[in-house]
């Protein structure tokens, strides 16, 4: 059966920030290939023109007045945070700074 290479699966898993168990990789090699082959059909479709539909609405964006609205109490803002630290949100040290 047609399948993606291990590296290709690992690459898209990294883009999506999903770690994969050893036993999943093989399944995804097949699954992802099936889906990708399917969407490849688009290459054969001839479109009318280059115009793109980014949203189906025909109206233009209406702009908001520059006024300050309601804000969250910081306790409320922290309510669902898995790891908070005082009134900050805590994460493992960021690597790129």
């Amino acid at each position: 059966m047609n399948k993606l290479s291990r590296e290709e699966v690992e690459h898209v898993a990294h883009l999506a920030r999903i770690s994969l168990e050893e036993n999943e990789i093989e399944k995804y090699q097949i699954d992802l290939k099936m889906l990708m082959d399917d969407v490849d059909k688009i290459k054969d479709i001839k479109n009318y023109d280059e115009e793109m539909l980014i949203t189906p609405v025909s109206h233009k964006a209406e702009l908001r007045k520059d006024e300050v609205g309601e804000m969250l109490d910081y306790k409320e803002a922290m309510k669902n945070v898995p790891r908070s630290n005082g009134n900050f949100v805590e994460v493992p040290v960021m690597i790129n700074e």
Binding site: V9, V12, A13, L15, A16, R17, I18, S19, L20, E21, Y28, D31, L32, M34, L35, M36, D38, V39, K41, I42, K43, I45, N47, Y48, D49, E50, E51, M52, L53, I54, T55, P56, V57, S58, H59, A61, E62, R64, L72, E76, K79, N80, V81, P82, R83, V89, V91, P92, V93, M94, I95
Partner: protein, 485 residues
Amino acid sequence: MSNYLDLSIQEINKLLKEKQIKPIDLVNECFDRIEKNKDLNAFITLDKENAIKKAIELEGKEVDNPLFGIPIALKDNIITKDLRTTCASRMLENFIPIYNATVVKKLIEKNMIIIGKCNMDEFAMGSTSRTSYFGAPLNPWNKERVSGGSSGGSVVAVASRQIPLTLGSDTGGSIRQPSSYCGVVGMKPTYGRVSRYGLVPYASSLDQIGPVSRNVYENALLLNIIAGKDELDLTSSRKEVEDYTRLIGEDIKGMKIAVPNYFMSDIVDKEIKDKVNEIIELLKEKGATIDYIDIDFIENAVTIYQIIVMAEASSNLARFDGIRYGYSCENPKDMEDLYKRTRQEGFGTEVKRRIMVGSYLLSGENANVYYNKALQIRDDLKKSFEKAFEKYDLIIGPNATTVAYGINAKLDDPRQTFFDDALVMPTNMAGLPGMNVPIGFNNENMPIGLQIIGNSFEEAKMYKLAAFIEKELNLNLDPRGENNG
């Protein structure tokens, strides 16, 4: 126990107004029915305590609108403040939102009573509701069959008469296809008709919230209160909200209706085409004109749908990272570990598959090859629908290619769910309104539905045709056995 919930909304409204019943009677009856139908797995979360509190609160208030005091449940991807909202995912298993979706605010304003949250495919990704972290809901017509999806729970709850009204969401048929499988009325309104603020997005340019109901009139009543411009949703339309019941009961004579040839092609089971053909004959007999037409690119809808839906999903679901809310993996050793294990452990297989393919489709040069081209064809498809609506009032056809299939049918082919929705996706692509109205059963007593597609913002016209068919057929759509009533 009383059976007020078997009455029509208008009858219930009359009883409430005359103070013959109280909202609490409806709430108690509703929870009683839910208890009896537990095995159908239609709900993920119930909110009995607050529902009762709200019902009692309403006793002192004037019954000022047709939906006052009526119990309602919401698909679990619609955000409810202080009420768990899971999207049927482990990722949000314990997530208690701190704000309300705009539709929820509207329901509360009209004093509807929110009973709980309905089961669904995880993050609305699926066509059978079997990707739910909480197990699949069952089809009340045959518990060995799927409910359809992704709004399976919303549809099952109404079909089994546990509750008269629910809200679902429809990205590529997720209201209409399960409605067809379970024999209820489901409407996906025009994109922009109902605010998406507070709907956890699957694919932002396709998602739309819509009503699920036992009959056409009640569906229109619910659309009346959820439709309208929302300052918090730039894609919501300023187009005036009309009374969507206003054309119900009118004659259909002279209506010009089109049937796309693709809708009656080999991809659809014969038993379904036969039923649709019966309806076509009926409509002709009653004075409508029916033409078979081609709609360019309609057969490409699955392909462009797959691309757009997975690409947008990969971006929309990126925010579930274990930092601000939701599931977060134990003892992350660094940032990458936090992201990768949280998402590995928090998302189910189907969701991960789509996110990965979506990321691939947008990566590097692929964005041009796939996503941008899909948007170009999408524009073309919309134009070819527009062309059809220059001539026709409505477009009809089946909603599903088959009736509900076995609950144990394999989930192996990752493409199956897309094929299931081949007939319902094109409307989402064009942003058009589409609905399901039941038109009968196959020989195994499984429901079959008709899809009605309208031009943008012409929901009232669709309800008119749907109500006409409903009245003509006068089907018994209550799946309960004699002991169940």
